[in-house]
C-alpha cells in the first residue's frame, strides 16, 4: 500500500496542486487576485523533488504505474515544461484575459496526464492518461473563448483527437483480444513465446496503437491538425503542447513499442521508417514557406517529431537515451522560442508573423539574442542543446545501421536551418523596422527565459551528465 502511493507520489502532488488551484480560484473574492501560479510552482517543484527521491528505486504502484528511472526522467522533462510555461504565463494571462484558475489548473492536469502516460504499464491506464492529457489540452487550446481562431483550433484538435483516440482504443481492444491482457509485461511475455511469424491481427493492433501515438506526436500523415491548432492556440499553450504532449507521447511510445512489442521490432521498424522519413521531409519542406512564426514553429515541431522517431526506430538503448535527451533539448529550445513570441505580443498586435521580427535587435536586443539562441539550438548549431541531441540521435542511428535515416535527418536539418535563420536574419539584418511592441516583461518571464537559456547552454556544453542520466534511465526497460 505504501509502495503504491510512493510510486504515484509525483503525480499525486501535482494533482493536489491542480485541485488547490482550482478551488482557490473559485473561492477568491471577486476583485482580489490570489497568487494562483504559486500553487502550481510549489506542486511542480514538489513533484520534481519526489521524482529525484524516487530515483533508482523502481517502485510499482497498484500494478499499473511504474516509477522507474525512465518515467522519472520523463517526469523531470514535463515538470520543467510545466514550470517554464507557468513562469511565462502571468503576462499572457493578463493580456489575453484568460481565466487564470482554469488555465493553471488545466496546465497542471495536463502535466498529471503526461506523467501518468510515461509511468503507465497498462494499455488501459495509458489510454486514460492520454485522455486526461488531451482533454486538458483541448480546453487550453480554446481557452480564449471569444476568439474565433482559438475556438476553431480547439474544435479541430478535439475532433481529430477523438478520432485518433478511437483508433488507439481499437488497438488496445485488439491487443486484448489476442493476448488476453492489457498489461505491457504480459503482452511482451506472450509475444515473446510465440516464435512463429507474427499473427496478422497483432500487426493490425500494433499499427492502430502506432496511429494513436503518431497523432499525438504529430507525425506525417497524422500531423494535419498541428499547424492549425498550434497557430490558433494561445502561444504559450502552443509551446506547452509542442513540448509536453510530445514528450509524454514519445515516452509512452517508447515504452509500449520497446517493451511490449520489442520482439516485433523487425515488423514495425520499416513502417515507422517510412513515417519518420515522411515526417522529417514534409515538416521541413512545408516549414520553409510559412510566413507565420507560430505556424513555422509548428512545422518545425513536426520535423522534430521525425528526428525523435529515428531514436525510436533505432531501438537500441543508446537510441532510446538519445531520444530522451533530445526531448529535453528540444523542450527547452522550443519553449524558449515560443515564450519570446508570446512575450512580444501586445493586445492589439499578436506579433507572430516572420516580418514582425524585423529589426528586433535594435529595439529589444536581449530578446533578439535569446530568440537567436533558441532558434539556432533548434537548427542544431553547436554548442547548443539541439546540436548535441541531433548528434546523439544520428550517431545512434548510424551505429545501428540506419545510415539512410541519418542522412535524411541531416539533410532536412540543413534545410530547416533556412527557416530558423529567416527569423534571425529578420531580427538583425533587415532594413525594415517592424512595429516595435514594448510590452513590459514580467520578472517571472525573465526568470523562465534565463532558465531556458541556461538549460540550452548546459545541455549543449556539458551534455555528458544528462546523457548518462538518460542512459541509466533506460536500463531495465526491456
Amino acid at each position: 500500500m505504501l509502495t503504491d502511493f510512493q510510486a504515484i507520489m509525483p503525480i499525486l502532488i501535482v494533482t493536489l496542486s491542480a485541485i488547490v488551484t482550482m478551488v482557490a480560484e473559485a473561492f477568491q473574492p471577486k476583485q482580489e487576485r490570489a497568487p494562483l501560479a504559486g500553487f502550481g510552482v510549489i506542486g511542480l517543484i514538489g513533484a520534481a523533488a519526489a521524482s529525484v527521491l524516487l530515483w533508482g528505486y523502481d517502485k510499482t504502484g497498484f500494478g499499473v504505474v511504474r516509477a522507474d528511472n525512465f518515467s522519472l526522467f520523463v517526469n523531470l522533462i514535463v515538470i520543467a515544461v510545466g514550470l517554464l510555461t507557468i513562469l511565462f504565463s502571468p503576462q499572457v494571462i493578463e493580456r489575453e484575459r484568460i481565466p487564470p484558475g482554469e488555465y493553471y489548473a488545466l496546465t497542471l492536469f495536463a502535466v498529471v496526464g503526461m506523467m501518468l502516460m510515461a509511468a503507465a504499464t497498462d494499455l488501459l491506464l495509458l489510454f486514460l492518461a492520454l485522455e486526461v492529457l488531451s482533454l486538458a489540452v483541448y480546453v487550453l487550446t480554446g481557452i480564449r473563448r471569444a476568439q474565433f481562431q482559438s475556438a476553431e483550433a480547439a474544435f479541430k484538435y478535439f475532433l481529430l483527437g477523438a478520432f485518433s483516440s478511437a483508433f488507439f482504443l481499437y488497438g488496445v481492444a485488439l491487443t486484448y483480444a489476442i493476448v488476453g491482457s492489457t498489461r505491457l509485461e504480459e503482452i511482451a511475455a506472450t509475444l515473446a513465446v510465440s516464435d512463429q511469424a507474427p499473427d496478422g491481427l497483432v500487426l493490425v493492433a500494433m499499427g492502430l496503437l502506432a496511429v494513436g501515438f503518431a497523432f499525438k506526436i504529430s507525425a506525417v500523415p497524422f500531423h494535419m491538425w498541428a499547424p492549425d491548432a498550434y497557430q490558433g492556440a494561445p502561444t504559450l499553450v502552443t509551446g506547452f503542447m509542442a513540448t509536453g504532449v510530445k514528450a509524454a507521447a514519445f515516452a509512452a511510445f517508447l515504452r509500449v513499442f520497446l517493451s511490449s512489442f520489442h520482439t516485433l521490432h523487425d515488423s514495425w521498424a520499416p513502417m515507422l521508417w517510412l513515417v519518420a522519413v515522411a515526417t522529417m521531409i514534409l515538416g521541413t519542406v512545408v516549414g520553409v514557406v510559412q510566413a507565420n512564426a507560430k505556424r513555422m514553429l509548428a512545422y518545425s515541431s513536426v520535423a522534430h517529431a521525425g528526428y525523435l522517431l529515428v531514436g525510436l526506430i533505432v531501438g537500441t538503448r543508446v537510441g532510446e537515451a538519445a531520444t530522451l535527451f533530445y526531448l529535453a533539448a528540444y523542450a527547452v529550445s522550443t519553449l524558449g522560442a515560443f515564450a519570446v513570441v508570446a512575450v512580444l505580443a501586445t493586445e492589439e498586435h499578436p506579433h507572430d508573423r516572420v516580418q514582425d521580427f524585423a529589426g528586433l535587435w535594435e529595439s529589444r536586443p536581449g530578446l533578439a539574442a535569446l530568440m537567436t539562441v533558441f532558434l539556432l539550438s533548434l537548427g542544431g548549431f553547436p554548442p547548443l542543446a539541439g546540436f548535441v541531441g541531433k548528434w546523439y540521435i544520428f550517431s545512434a542511428a548510424i551505429d545501428a545501421g540506419y545510415v539512410w535515416l541519418a542522412i535524411v535527418g541531416v539533410l532536412t536539418s540543413v534545410i530547416s536551418v533556412f527557416f530558423y535563420l529567416r527569423i534571425v536574419v529578420m531580427m538583425y539584418m533587415s532594413d525594415e523596422r517592424a512595429l516595435v511592441p514594448t510590452p513590459a516583461i514580467t520578472r517571472s518571464a525573465v526568470a523562465g527565459l534565463t532558465l531556458a537559456l541556461v538549460a540550452v547552454f548546459y545541455l549543449g556544453l556539458l551534455p555528458t551528465h544528462a546523457i548518462e542520466l538518460a542512459l541509466t534511465s533506460v536500463q531495465g526497460m526491456f
Binding site: 496478422g200 499499427g207 513502417m271 519542406v285 520553409v288 555528458t464
Partner: protein
C-alpha cells in the same frame, strides 16, 4: 583549485565584455589587473603545494568533468600542474599581470568603450593561455591553443580602423591555421595510435617503445605537431606573421608575441618530450629549423628600422634558440631560455612601448636618437634587457643561452653550435644597434632642435598621432609614467636575477631548474597519473630515460666542465665582440653603417626586404591558390556546382512546399480523411507484406 587560475581572467573577460562600456577606465582596467593578480596568487599557492611534494610525484591532476564521451573517445576537461606547467603558469600570470598594469597607462588615450574591449581581450587571452598550459590532454591544450590564436588575431587587429592592422591580424590568423591544421591531424593520428590524448598516458605508452630510428608513426606525429608549433611560435616556414603582428598595441606585442603565446610551440614540445625523444629524426628537423630560423631572423633584424620589428625578429630568433634546444634534447634548457626570455623580451617590448608613447606613436628608429637623457628609466631598464639578451655574464640570458649552446655542442651538433654562436653575435649587434640608434647620438625626432629634415618627412604621421595622443605637447618628452615604470623596473630586476635558478655546474651552481623540470620530460613512473594528494611511492626507480637525464644533470664529468667553461668563454667573447662592433659602427662612426650599406647594396636590400620571403610565398603559394580559387573553385565549382545545387535545392523545396501546403486547406474533413487514409495505409502495409 587549478581551475581557478584560468577562471579569474575569464571572469574579468566576461565582466569587461558585457558591461565594460559602462565602466570607467579605472574600473575596467583595475578589474582586469585584479583578475590577473588573483590568478597569479592562486598560481603561486598551487606552485608552492607542488614544491611540497617529493620530486618524482610532482603532479597535481584536477578533472572538472568529462567534456566529451563517445565510445572509446574520452575527453575529460582535466587540468594538470607539474613542474613545467607550474613554471609556465607563473610566467603567464606574473608577467601577464605586469603587462596588464603597464597597459592601464599605455592605453589611456582610448575611449572607455575601447579600453574595456582591450582589457577584455587581454584577460581572455590570459585565460586561454592558462588553459593551454594547464591542459592535461591534447584536446584541452588545443582549446587554449585555438583560443590564444583567436585573441592574438583580435588584438593584432585591435585598431581595426587601420587597414594594415586588420591585414596583419588576418595574416596571423591564416598562417596560424596552416599550422593548426597539422596539429589537428597530428592529434587524430596520436589518438589513433595510442587510444588516448592524455599527455602522461601517451608518454607512458611511448616509453615502452624503442626510439624510432627510421621514419614511422612517431616521427609523423611529432613532425605534424612541430608544424603546428612553427605556426604558433613563428619558425620557418611560418614565421612571417609575427613581424606584421607588431601592428597591435605594444603591450600586446610584449605579452602575446614575445613572452607567452609564441612560446606555446616550445612548451608543447616540452609537454611531449618523451614522444619527441623517441623520434630522433624529427628532433633533427626541429634543431635544424630552429637554428636556421634563429640565423635568418637575426640577419633580418640587422637591417630593420622599425623598433618593434627589430624586437619581433629578435623574438623569432630567440624562439629559434629554444627550438634548437628542444631539437638537441635539452628540453630543460629550452624551457629555461623560454622563461628568461619572457622577462627580458617583455621588458624590451615595454621599453620600446615607452619610447613610442613618449614620441607619440613614432616607431622609426631613424627618427629617434638621444633619448637616453629624456627617458632615463626606459633607457636603463632597456639596457639591462639588451645586455641580458646579448648574453653578458651575470644576467639571465647568459645562463640560459649558454646552456643551450653547451648542450648543442655536447650532443655532437658542432655545426649547429657554430651557427648558434654566429646568431649570438648577430643578436648582440642588432640589439646594440637598436640601443644606439634609439637612445644615443643626436636627437632626430620631431620637436628636437636638430634633424629637422627627417622630422619634416615624419610630420604628417606624427601630427596624426598627436591627434590621439594629446598630452605632453611642445616637444618636452616625458619618461614612462608610474604604471609603466614599475613594470619596467620589476622586469629589469627579473631579467637580472631570473637566471640564478639555473647556474650551471661548471660555475659552481647546481642548475636547480633543470633538476626541477626533469620529471616533466620523463615518462611517468606510474602509468596512472597521480591524483592530488597521493604521492608516488618513494624509492621507485626512474625508468631509463629519467635516470639518464638525472646522470646528465648531476654527474657532469670533469671534461665536461672544462668544455663548458671553454664554450662559455667563447660565447662571452662573441657577445662582447658583437657589442663592440655595434658600438664601432653605430655609435662611434655612424657613417660606417651607411658606407657598408652602400658597399653591398644588394645585401642591404635583401636584409631590409626580409630575404623576400613574403614575396616568395606570395608568388609561389598565395597567387596560385588565389588564381585556382578564382578560376576553378569559385567560378567553376562554387558558382556552377555548389551554388547551382543550393539554389536548385531551394527551388525544389519551395516548389514542393507550394504543392504540399495545398493539402493544408484548413478543412477538418480533409484532415480527417488524410488521417483515415494514413491509418489504412499503415494497416495495409502490414497486411500486404
Amino acid at each position: 583549485m587549478l581551475a581557478l587560475i584560468p577562471l579569474f581572467p575569464f571572469i574579468g573577460f566576461i565582466i569587461n565584455a558585457l558591461i565594460g562600456r559602462r565602466l570607467s577606465k579605472a574600473t575596467s582596467g583595475g578589474l582586469a589587473c585584479l583578475a590577473m593578480l588573483v590568478s597569479f596568487g592562486v598560481a603561486v599557492v598551487a606552485f608552492w603545494r607542488l614544491l611540497g611534494l617529493p620530486a618524482e610525484a610532482r603532479v597535481i591532476d584536477e578533472t572538472l568533468f568529462t567534456w566529451i564521451a563517445s565510445g572509446r573517445f574520452q575527453a575529460p576537461l582535466t587540468f594538470r600542474l607539474d613542474p613545467l606547467a607550474g613554471l609556465m603558469c607563473l610566467v603567464v600570470t606574473g608577467i601577464g599581470f605586469l603587462i596588464h598594469v603597464y597597459s592601464t597607462a599605455y592605453m589611456h588615450e582610448e575611449t572607455d568603450h575601447e579600453y574595456a574591449r582591450y582589457f577584455s581581450y587581454l584577460n581572455l587571452f590570459a585565460a586561454f593561455m592558462l588553459v593551454l598550459v594547464l591542459g592535461a590532454n591534447l584536446l584541452v591544450m588545443f582549446i587554449g591553443w585555438e583560443g590564444v590564436g583567436l585573441c592574438s588575431y583580435l588584438l593584432i587587429g585591435y585598431w581595426f580602423d587601420k587597414q594594415s592592422a586588420t591585414d596583419a591580424g588576418k595574416k596571423a590568423f591564416v598562417v596560424n591555421r596552416v599550422g593548426d591544421m597539422a596539429f589537428i591531424v597530428g592529434m587524430c593520428l596520436a589518438f589513433a595510435s595510442f587510444g588516448t590524448l592524455d599527455f602522461r598516458a601517451i608518454a607512458a605508452a611511448v616509453a615502452a617503445l624503442p626510439p624510432e630510428v627510421t621514419w614511422g608513426v612517431l616521427s609523423t606525429i611529432t613532425l605534424l605537431f612541430f608544424i603546428g608549433a612553427t605556426g604558433k611560435s613563428a619558425q620557418i616556414p611560418l614565421y612571417i606573421w609575427l613581424p606584421d603582428a607588431m601592428e597591435g598595441p605594444t603591450p600586446v606585442s610584449a605579452l602575446i608575441h614575445a613572452a607567452t603565446m609564441v612560446t606555446a610551440g616550445v612548451y608543447m614540445i616540452g609537454r611531449n618530450a618523451v614522444l619527441y625523444s623517441h623520434a630522433p629524426l624529427t628532433m633533427e628537423v626541429v634543431a635544424v629549423i630552429g637554428v636556421a630560423t634563429a640565423l635568418l631572423a637575426g640577419t633580418i633584424g640587422l637591417a630593420q628600422n622599425d623598433i618593434k620589428r627589430v624586437l619581433a625578429y629578435s623574438t623569432v630568433s630567440q624562439l629559434g634558440y629554444m627550438f634548437l634546444a628542444m631539437g638537441v634534447g635539452a628540453f630543460a634548457a629550452g624551457i629555461f631560455h623560454l622563461y628568461t626570455h619572457a622577462f627580458f623580451k617583455a621588458l624590451m617590448f615595454l621599453g620600446s612601448g615607452a619610447v613610442i608613447h613618449a614620441l607619440h606613436g613614432e616607431q622609426d628608429m631613424r627618427k629617434m636618437g638621444g633619448l637616453r637623457r629624456a627617458l632615463p628609466i626606459t633607457y636603463w631598464t632597456f639596457l639591462i634587457g639588451a645586455l641580458a639578451i646579448a648574453g653578458v655574464p651575470g644576467l639571465s640570458g647568459f645562463f640560459s643561452k649558454d646552456e643551450i649552446l653547451f648542450r648543442t655542442f655536447a650532443s655532437g651538433h658542432s655545426v649547429l653550435w657554430v651557427l648558434g654562436t654566429a646568431t649570438a653575435l648577430l643578436t648582440a649587434v642588432y640589439m646594440f644597434r637598436l640601443i644606439y640608434l634609439t637612445f644615443h647620438g643626436k636627437p632626430r625626432y620631431e620637436g628636437a632642435y636638430e634633424g629637422a629634415q627627417e622630422a619634416h618627412r615624419a610630420h604628417d604621421r606624427a601630427a596624426h598621432a598627436q591627434g590621439t595622443h594629446n598630452h605632453g605637447g611642445g616637444g618636452v618628452l616625458h619618461d614612462a609614467p608610474m604604471a609603466m615604470a614599475i613594470p619596467l623596473v620589476l622586469l629589469a630586476i627579473g631579467s637580472v636575477v631570473a637566471g640564478y635558478v639555473g647556474v650551471p655546474h661548471a660555475l659552481g651552481g647546481s642548475n636547480r631548474i633543470e633538476t626541477f623540470l626533469e620529471p616533466s620530460f620523463s615518462p611517468p613512473a606510474h602509468t596512472a597519473p597521480a591524483v592530488a594528494g597521493t604521492h608516488a611511492e618513494p624509492g621507485v626507480a626512474l625508468s631509463g630515460e629519467g635516470a639518464h637525464a638525472e646522470a646528465d644533470a648531476h654527474g657532469a664529468t670533469h671534461a665536461d666542465t672544462a668544455l663548458e667553461l671553454t664554450l662559455m668563454v667563447t660565447s662571452v667573447a662573441i657577445a662582447l665582440m658583437g657589442i663592440g662592433i655595434a658600438t664601432l659602427v653605430w655609435l662611434k662612426r655612424p657613417h660606417v653603417a651607411a658606407a657598408l650599406a652602400a658597399r653591398v647594396p644588394w645585401m642591404h636590400r635583401l636584409l631590409l626586404n626580409k630575404w623576400y620571403v613574403d614575396e616568395l610565398y606570395d608568388a609561389t603559394i598565395v597567387q596560385p591558390i588565389k588564381n585556382s580559387s578564382t578560376v576553378g573553385l569559385w567560378k567553376g565549382v562554387d558558382v556552377g556546382v555548389i551554388d547551382g545545387a543550393v539554389n536548385g535545392t531551394g527551388w525544389l523545396v519551395r516548389g514542393s512546399a507550394a504543392g504540399l501546403r495545398l493539402a493544408q486547406s484548413g478543412s477538418v474533413r480533409i484532415y480527417a480523411a488524410a488521417f483515415f487514409v494514413g491509418t489504412v495505409l499503415v494497416i495495409a502495409f502490414y497486411l500486404v507484406r
